[in-house]
Amino acid sequence: MPEKLKVSLLDYGAGNVRSVRNAIAANGYEIQDITTPEQIVAADCIVFPGVGSFGSAMRVLKEKGFYQPLRDYLADYKRPYLGICLGMQTLFESSDEHEPGADPIPGLGVIPGKVIKFNETHMAVPHIGWNGRILHQDSAVLKHVSPDEDAYFVHSFYAPLTAENAPWVLTTTTYSGQAFVSAIQRGSVVATQFHPEKSGVTGLHVLKGFLEVSDCCWSAGRQVALGYGRLKEISLTAVVLLLSLTLSY
């Protein structure tokens, strides 16, 4: 069997990510856990299923020394990344999810804008359940999913659609008339507000799309690297040959 991309999972132990592991495994990919900042630097593909609150997630990323390596990893949008739920929200600059009176805690700041709370006077909060997606980009990540299939959401905070984040928006969803960003993609950086690991076959297919595209990138990268290696080998052989020829004269 050809070698496959390995998924690096950012699980800082704050909650249940068993389903995310199982859903990646169900798609036939192996997982390694990120425990050191160096692993982020070396990763081929990172999945970040944020759990807990925005503040606690950001605090843990900083405490473990993951903050800067993650920002660097995300900087040129070229390395495969999948954020889920809070893993999408932490890509924004900040969130209203913090203790009353306390200062907002900054996010990774990759996407411009702030994550805010649904208006409880107009709708039941949290937004729990199966909802649809309005497609804003044509992406290979969603190639196995039909546009009318529903995905599972559970969240009280959302990223509003703005002119600044428009280039990032992959899908939007509306809840009681309120539109919000339900998935983003820029280059290889992908994130979903919904939970692919809880969205039945639809969710498994979203993961499949992301992992296939990531795997394809990774294999192409390896091909280039392998090619380069072989070229070096060939030139080395040539030099040795030349040398031995020269010497024999």
Binding site: R18, A26, P80, I134, H136, Y152
Partner: protein, 343 residues
């Protein structure tokens, strides 16, 4: 990865939150320590015998039944699965709870939200004397693969204390501690009320919310009014607090959802208690799951049309294979109610 291509988007386009169908499995341990699904499952004794169960505790447990049934419901379109544990944990240690193994196995195959209920409370191991808090018990369930836990009796007592104190949060109830760590969406309150019929709206104690019953759901002697008295310990003990009050208090304490049963309607297949569900869903802003009484696809459409609930739960009718989940969803769509569209 290539940058995806921008598409034309209709700015008026809207999506809709689907009304959920939750399938519940009432799970208990049998004499062998195996977990069996009880509701509508008249044959479990014979089937377990056939499957050759190991008899001693600590031997091989037959976990196949709850997991395989739940997997079937997942494949048939259940939007959520609830494992409701009706065994009390008098023996053994926390790590040995068979429900943990069920969750671990189920989460390998089932990719929709899993709720576990029953037995989530402070617990002392009779042998070692070690005590776990409700939060610690819940944490173990979350790690095993549960997305939500449901709290029963504990939440009625928490609501009573909350009301008695004039709305003071003690901060140490199971609702508060679990909600603080795992979020409100992970805490479901399961309420088991029974009807207390009254002559008129002002006949009951003013602290109880009295409702007028729907014309086709009157009491056995044509009673038109009632309030809903909460029970604890699986319906065996009545408390002087109504379902609306418990729902409102537990929402304040940090609950994210209300699973609302009704002892009078349970197992009858005559439809959900509409007056109860209307009263509670209007009183809280968190989602309410209707439970007790479903028997036909029409009952689902009725509860979604006539009350504000966001989900409806059933157990027996699915176990007995009376109605397929997809038939219910089609009936909902035909009635203009959004149901989940899946692959």
């Amino acid at each position: 990865m290539d940058q995806a291509k921008p598409l034309q988007v209709d700015p008026t386009a809207e999506t809709h939150l689907a009304k959920r169908i939750v399938v519940a499995l009432d799970v208990r341990s049998n004499d062998h320590g195996d977990l069996v699904v009880t509701k509508g499952d008249q044959y479990d004794v014979r089937e377990n015998h056939k499957e050759g169960v190991t008899e001693c505790r600590g031997g091989v447990r037959n976990l196949g039944k709850p997991v395989s049934l739940a997997s079937r419901y997942y494949q048939e379109g259940a939007d959520e699965i609830a494992f409701l544990n009706i065994t009390s944990f008098r023996h053994g240690v926390i790590e040995d709870m068979p429900m943990l193994q069920v969750l671990e196995e189920a989460s390998k195959k089932i990719f929709v939200p899993l709720t576990v209920g029953g037995g989530i409370r402070s617990y002392t191991d009779p042998d070692s004397g070690q005590t776990w808090t409700a939060l610690e018990v819940a944490s173990r369930y979350f790690r095993a693969g549960a997305d939500k836990i449901s709290l029963g009796s504990d939440s009625v007592h928490a609501a009573e204390a909350f009301v008695a104190s004039g709305g003071a949060k003690k901060g140490d109830t199971s609702i508060e501690t679990i909600s603080r760590v795992y979020g409100a969406q992970a805490v479901v309150i399961s309420i088991d009320p029974k009807r207390v019929y009254v002559e008129s709206k002002d006949q009951a104690d003013s602290k109880h919310v009295v409702v007028e019953l729907d014309p086709h759901q009157l009491g056995p002697n044509g009673e038109r009014f009632c309030w809903y008295q909460c029970t604890v310990k699986g319906g065996r003990e009545e408390r002087d607090i109504c379902a609306v009050t418990v729902a409102k208090a537990t929402e304040q304490l940090g609950a994210g959802e209300i699973m609302l049963n009704c002892i009078d309607m349970d197992g009858q297949g005559q439809g959900y208690d509409l007056a109860l569900l209307r009263a509670v869903s209007e009183a809280v802003s968190i989602p309410v799951i209707a439970s007790s009484g479903a028997g036909t696809p029409e009952h689902f459409s009725e509860v979604f049309t006539k009350t504000g609930v966001q989900a409806a739960l059933a157990a027996g009718m699915f176990h007995r294979k009376e109605v397929e989940i997809e038939t219910i969803k089609q009936h909902m769509r035909d009635s203009g109610i959004p149901a989940r569209k899946s692959a």
